[in-house]
């Protein structure tokens, strides 16, 4: 049985609040008063969570059974659920950058849209976004060659550029359309794009699979055209219909194993 802690944003602000404390791991076992005292970062100041949110409900001892419900727009609150390992977060609005970054477990549901870097270097758990996601969904930290390594991200809407950048495992499902450079530098894992995808999909990928069910813009010249496959089975999932297989990205060398399946 889940118990809820409810956060209602009190003030609107232009400067983004950094609130990595908004995760069940932090709230568990604390009283509402203690949760209100948790530190958040606003510009160059340190303030209290209670200054920005009305906090109610009750926090369970066990983070696994704790759900945080954010009632309202937090499009200027960064790092919600960063590094969370268990429990649940439900956001009934838009969210700023780094949602569920470095997440290891648990589940986040966002009813609105998310800004860039959601699920950055994620290792486990699940993120479900009902709206759109901006750039670098499930990507890496700047300069790092390890993006998402496990878990699952589902986006009901569209996704921005460089989805699954440096992906090393896990699963990303985009139900809408996807912008350029999806799966750039990908090595392992699965990306499913149900809508159409813009140019340079799979750029510099060396492994992993990308499945495109909608339209696909011109593929890079460094991909080789493979055979037509009837009915696709990947990681226990089945996709009916005919698929054209493409292998690449041969810009990276002769022994690359990246695969793009495009539904015909």
């Amino acid at each position: 049985m889940m118990t809820d802690v409810i956060l209602v944003p009190k003030v609107q602000h232009k400067i983004s609040l950094e609130a990595e404390v908004i995760k069940p791991d932090e709230f568990a076992g604390k009283t509402i008063e203690e949760i209100k005292e948790l530190p958040v970062y606003f510009g160059n100041t340190v303030q209290k969570l209670g200054d920005f949110f009305e906090v109610s409900g009750s926090a369970e001892e066990n983070a696994e059974n704790l759900r945080i419900v954010v009632e309202g727009d937090v499009s200027r609150v960064k790092r919600i659920g960063e590094g969370m390992t268990t429990g649940e977060i439900l956001v009934k609005g838009d969210v700023d950058m780094y949602l569920g970054a470095r997440m290891k477990g648990g589940r986040i549901v966002v009813e609105g849209s998310v800004d860039s870097f959601a699920g950055q270097q994620m290792r486990g758990g699940e993120i479900e976004i009902k709206g759109n996601a901006k750039d670098y969904l499930g990507g890496s930290y700047r300069g790092d060659w390890r993006g998402m390594r496990g878990g699952r991200i589902i986006v009901e809407g569209n996704a921005g550029k460089e989805v699954a950048e440096f992906m090393r495992g896990g699963e990303i499902i985009i139900k809408g359309n996807c912008d350029s450079f999806a799966g750039v530098h990908m090595k392992k894992g699965l990306v499913i794009i149900e809508g159409s995808v813009a140019e340079r999909v799979g750029a510099e990928m060396v492994g992993g699979s990308i499945i495109v069910l909608g339209e696909m813009a011109n593929l890079l010249p460094s991909f080789k055209i493979g055979e037509v496959v009837e009915g696709l089975k990947i990681d226990g999932r089945e996709f009916p219909g005919k698929f054209r297989k493409y292998i690449g990205d041969f810009a990276e060398g002769p022994s690359v194993k990246g695969v793009i399946y495009k539904r015909l």
């Binding site: 232009k14 400067i15 983004s16 950094e18 970062y41 606003f42 510009g43 160059n44 100041t45 950058m97 860039s116 870097f117 750039d135 670098y136 930290y141 700047r142 300069g143 060659w145 350029s180 450079f181 750039v184 530098h185 340079r200 750029a203 510099e204 890079l220 010249p221 460094s222 080789k224 055209i225 990205d249 041969f250 810009a251 990276e252 060398g253 002769p254």
Partner: protein, 432 residues
């Protein structure tokens, strides 16, 4: 009249170090050997009227103020800010940048340079794939294949070709130009392309595709398509052959590559191409850095904060993520509540939405001349010109540090960027 020799030109990243400046009293008569742009920069110190007194804007009108008052007011604005942006730095000394970083750390602000709108993508790509670097001297002495990709040095770095790449005679290239081959890749036939041995016209925004095709060929693959990015297959194979079979190649690239679709991924692919080429021959790559000390800004930032640009000190330590902590991103999200501009003119060069926010917040500008940015500033503190009226360290585009010289005194009462910044920092520390 006095002639000062071996002066370093503070205009572009080429940092020509053979300028002879003729000084006549408080005027510069000429800057021999300098290109047209460099010469006009030296002569700009003669501009009359040169701003000397600081200006403070109050209730919509500007008034002259003492240097002490301007510094105190600037310190107050910065000290009271929650998210200040310190921007510019590419046309001042490394010493000034170092003080700027101290201020940013002290007030928990953001510091970013003009790199953010020029070779920022280059720096980001270098973090992913490294950089097979080289000095301009090595290029002059050894290069037999020179490629300019998305760069037009004939206009932007006028003496680059004659000092380092194509025309000079080098130790192993005794006949100069005759011992070298010049290839230009660009979207249009630029003046640099007109003097090239080969010009490859790439379709706009398709550089990445062409680079991928080249990499596949260099890595032993076979190109299946008949045409990539508007370039026929045979021409791409010919280009790859030339690259693999030269003795010492250099790929110079400009903003045609960093600022066209793909940005840092274009550079990522270009550097990777050069890495792959090193399995066949010796090849290097170099960004055509624009402002004379934009490279120096990156160097100082990296050794002091660990990151090359777009650093956020809001939590007391340095954090970096272009797209989040870069100048235009914080301006367009309207997060910034105070701005300090040093040796730059963002109002003239930033996107409209960023400038709209610059107009909303208190801005302090330290610069030698009036500009659109000084016009929008609450406080304008005139400063001396580094490299002409003040000495200081600068880094050439190949990251070779050079100490620029002072050839003439600044107008009386005008302080250097370093001096002004040190006094602002001192004042901020007094307030805390």
């Amino acid at each position: 009249m006095a002639t000062i020799t071996d002066v370093i030109c503070p205009f572009c990243g080429t940092l020509c170090d053979d300028i002879e400046v003729v000084v006549n009293g408080s005027k510069i008569e000429s800057a021999r050997h300098a290109c047209k742009i460099g010469n006009s920069k030296f002569l700009s110190i003669n501009d009359i009227p040169r701003p000397i007194k600081p200006l403070i804007r109050e209730n919509g009108a500007s008034r002259e103020a003492s240097i002490d008052e301007a510094i105190a007011k600037a310190a107050e604005i910065l000290s009271n800010s929650k998210r200040a942006l310190l921007f510019g730095w590419s046309s001042t000394s490394c010493e000034a940048t170092a003080v700027g970083i101290e201020i940013a750390e002290e007030i928990g602000g953001l510091i970013d340079g003009t790199t953010t709108v020029c070779h920022g993508p280059t720096v980001m790509a270098v973090q992913y794939v490294g950089l097979p670097s080289v000095t301009l001297g090595e290029i002059k002495n050894r290069a037999d294949l020179v490629i300019y990709w998305g760069a037009n040095p004939m206009h932007a770095h006028p003496r680059h070709l004659s000092r380092y790449s194509i025309f000079p005679r080098g130790y192993f290239r005794e006949r100069g130009q005759q011992d070298r081959e010049l290839i230009v890749v660009d979207v249009r036939k630029t003046d640099t392309a007109k003097i090239a041995n080969h010009f490859i016209q790439v379709e706009f925004g398709k550089d990445y595709e062409l680079l991928s095709a080249l990499r596949m060929i260099v890595n032993g693959g076979e190109l299946e398509e008949e045409e990539v990015a508007g370039v026929p297959k045979e021409k791409i194979i010919e280009l790859a052959d030339k690259m693999m079979n030269c003795q010492f190649g250099i790929l110079f690239f400009g903003m045609g590559l960093t600022m066209s679709p793909g940005k840092h991924r274009n550079i990522d692919n270009a550097i990777s191409l050069v890495k792959n080429l090193n399995r066949h021959t010796k090849f290097s790559i170099m960004p055509m850095r624009g402002h004379w000390n934009v490279t120096g800004f990156g160097e100082v930032m990296t050794w002091q904060t660990g990151y090359p640009f777009a650093v956020d000190f809001s939590r007391g330590y340095a954090r970096y993520n272009p797209g989040e902590t870069s100048a235009n991103d914080v301006l367009q999200r309207e997060e910034v509540d105070a701005v300090l501009v040093v040796a730059s003119d963002p109002v003239a060069h930033f996107p409209r939405k960023s400038v709209a926010h610059l107009a909303r917040v208190p801005m302090i500008t330290i610069a030698p001349h009036h500009s659109l940015t000084t016009e929008l500033s609450e406080i304008f503190i005139p400063s001396s010109m580094v490299g002409i009226e003040e000495e200081g360290t600068a880094y050439r585009m190949d990251t070779v540090p050079l100490f620029t010289r002072k050839v003439i005194d600044p107008p009386q009462g005008v302080l250097s960027d370093v001096e002004i910044l040190k006094r602002i920092l001192e004042k901020i520390r007094e307030m805390r």
